[in-house]
């Protein structure tokens, strides 16, 4: 993992000191709320319905066990005993007092963490494949490049006042687990025919009220030009991105209004001026950062398969967990495991301080000290010996962290919604809980198969509903919650935006409607191997409309 150098440590500490002074002056009445609000947002502090909310950055979703224990400590000491892992691979605390936040930031700095650039019109936390460095299908680890982008973008003077926020995601495998085509810049790390490392570059993806799939503007950018090309994109965006209307200020609108070809021309022209200049990545620096992400020392554990055969025979639940939550590792004696923060009826992404401590301890004992946060709001142990999987599973059972539902219908992405968020227009956690109860039977979930269900409590789409195989958007209509359903979205290498199926459903109707959609899929699929998404792409919306709205389907 990346370790802070003296500059990083000094910079983060200085920012905490500066913010402590700003908070003190605010509480003393020396600065107004209008003056203070942009300052607190730059430090990750929002005001929500019930309290302040602190969003802590987890760069590319990578944590060590000491850091996760610190998050548990903060949850226990300054909050109400839990935290919420987000679709941006960050963590949010829902109840901190403003007067405590400088102390929290001090504690975070002691383990090389901070809340910088988790808000505001700047380059946000760079996200990456949560199986980075472990996945068997990976070309190269995307995290060194995410770290290079983090260093470059941190308080970048030219890009600290962009037209709107800016999100970058990096993946290192053909299978896109980082949803790169829904980001302002998506980078797909790949090798050229000559074996050189570089990136396919996508620009202009995003969700919110105007969902757009990113356009590929470069099939191959050699790795040494990463920062020159990123600077060219940001410079063009900073110059031409709209500032007259915040709803039209993201780069996706610039791409859409300008046209991909013309915009690419502007970017390439800027890149030509920057290319081979001071932004060229020196190979020695790239190698130095890569060294931080060198694979951990994984001792040979050849006894895994025999132990697993025996354990599966004894414990059916363990067998189900192995099928769903264990992912092939580049080292055949190891595995990456998904700890689903999606137990029946739980708020997706929430973890108690005790659960965080337990996962940190398991990572220390069995997981090379590493934990990842996935954008699907789960925690990952990327390096566990197959021979230790049963021991790890048994420990997870103790802390109710053993839901065997990764990739199934109850592995729901959900934003906090109206239960917490000041921007939300409807609840999303309550819908997630209802669906989680309806499909609680693991047999039923497995019979349905892979199905990604995503819920947002407002049009800002933090719950990624546009790219859910089934998406649910909560809005307020005539004073009541109304839920609009989209079908056929996807956030992988074949990204698609879901299509609205028809009129919305009330809070009471939405759960039964989802059951109808799932039963319709089962009755129409060609075989159990045909997934929901494949079936929808073959069938279109008609059978689902018919099932949901009957004779009124055409009107719906």
């Amino acid at each position: 993992m990346y370790r802070y150098d003296e500059f990083d440590q000094g910079f983060v500490k200085a920012r905490v000191t500066e913010f402590r002074d700003q908070v003190e002056r605010r509480l003393a009445g020396e600065i107004t709320e209008d003056q203070f609000k942009p300052l607190r947002l730059m430090n990750g502090v929002y005001l929500q319905l019930h309290a302040y909310m602190l969003r802590v950055a987890i760069p590319y979703g990578t944590l060590n066990s000491t850091q996760l224990k610190m998050l548990a400590h903060i949850a226990r000491t300054y909050d109400k005993g839990y935290g919420h892992f987000t679709t941006r691979q960050n963590v949010q605390f829902n109840w901190p007092a403003l007067s405590d936040i400088p102390a929290i930031l001090d504690e975070l700095a002691s383990v090389e963490m901070h809340a910088l650039q988790t808000s505001g019109n700047c380059i946000r936390n760079v996200t990456a494949d949560h199986f980075a460095g472990a996945a068997a299908d990976e070309i190269a680890d995307p995290r060194p490049y995410a770290e290079i982008l983090r260093q470059w973008s941190s308080v970048h003077p030219e890009f600290s006042y962009l037209p709107r926020k800016f999100k970058i995601a990096v993946t290192g495998a053909e299978r896109d687990r980082a949803a790169i085509q829904t980001h302002d810049i998506g980078l797909h790390l790949k090798r050229s025919a000559a074996g050189e490392l570089g990136f396919a570059v996508y620009v202009g993806g995003g969700q919110g009220r105007t969902p757009m799939i990113a356009k590929k503007i470069r099939d191959f950018l050699p790795e040494q030009h990463l920062l020159a090309y990123a600077t060219a994109i940001l410079r063009v965006y900073n110059l031409y991105g709209r500032r007259d209307n915040k709803y039209k200020a993201r780069i996706k609108i610039l791409v859409h209004e300008t046209g991909t070809e013309e915009l690419t021309g502007w970017i390439e022209k800027e890149f030509e001026a920057l290319k081979d200049g001071e932004l060229t990545l020196p190979d020695a620096d790239v190698q130095a950062i890569k060294a931080y992400f060198a694979p951990p020392n994984l001792p040979s554990r050849p006894d895994g398969d025999a132990l697993l055969r025996e354990a599966q025979a004894d414990d059916r639940n363990f067998g189900a967990w192995l099928r769903r939550n264990v992912t092939t590792h580049r080292n055949p004696e190891y595995a990456a495991i998904t700890i689903a923060l999606k137990g029946t009826g739980e708020a997706p992404g929430d973890a108690t301080a005790e659960q965080m401590d337990a996962i940190a301890q398991i990572a220390e004992e069995y997981g090379a000290n590493e934990i990842r946060v996935s954008h699907e709001q789960n925690l990952i142990l990327p390096h566990v010996a197959r021979a230790d999987l049963k021991a790890v599973y048994d420990r997870l059972v103790e802390f109710d962290l053993h839901a065997a539902n990764a990739g199934l219908i109850t592995d729901i992405i959900s934003c906090p919604g109206l239960d917490y968020c000041a921007l939300a227009t409807a609840r999303s956690i309550s819908v997630a809980q209802d669906i989680s109860h309806r499909f609680a039977s693991l047999e039923r979930q497995e019979a349905v198969g892979e199905l990604k269900l995503k819920i947002s409590g407002c049009i800002n789409a933090c719950g990624h509903h546009h790219v859910g195989h089934i998406g649910i958007l909560g809005v307020e209509k005539k004073g009541s919650e109304l839920y609009q359903v989209t079908l056929g979205g996807s956030a992988d290498e074949n990204t698609s935006i879901g299509e609205i199926v028809g009129r919305g459903f009330s809070a009471e109707e939405i759960g039964p409607a989802i059951e109808t959609i799932v039963e319709t899929y089962i009755s129409w699929r060609e075989s159990p191997e045909e997934t929901f998404l494949q079936a929808y792409r073959r069938l279109g919306a008609a059978p689902f409309k018919e099932a949901l709205y009957g004779a009124d389907a055409k009107a719906a």
Binding site: R26, L27, G29, T32, E33, L47, Q48, L49, H50, A51, Y52, K80, W95, A97, L98, S99, A347, L418, D419, Y420, A424, T425, A426, R427, I429, S430, Q433, E476, G479, S480, E481
Partner: protein, 102 residues
């Protein structure tokens, strides 16, 4: 029928303006405006509290009577007044439960 609500500056807690000009931690203690003149009085008190840095995000919200108790018209304000609906052990609703149990 309206009441004045805000969040306390120091900890962000949802509060409502009471008849004695203090910021109450429960909706039921709020002073209710039944006419425009009282609404204006509440709004002026809110602006003054904002300037004194007691609270932030001051707003007049619609309420109605439900079995003799004040109830915000919008769900958003009902959740602010009670706490997250998925965590009955947190927020104002938890404090009320503790008070009832005692």
């Amino acid at each position: 029928m309206k009441v004045l609500t805000a969040n306390r500056l120091t900890n962000g807690e949802a509060v409502w303006l009471a008849g004695d000009h203090s910021w109450a931690v429960t909706l039921q203690a709020a002073e209710v405006a039944l006419d425009e003149a009282t609404e204006e009085k509440l709004a002026r008190a809110g602006t003054a509290a904002l300037l004194k840095n007691e609270v932030v995000d001051v707003a007049l919200i619609d309420v109605e009577l439900d079995s003799g108790a004040l109830r915000p018209v919008r769900l958003r304000e009902r959740i602010r007044a009670a706490g997250p609906t998925n965590r009955r052990d947190l927020g104002k609703q938890a404090e009320l439960q503790i008070a009832v149990a005692a």
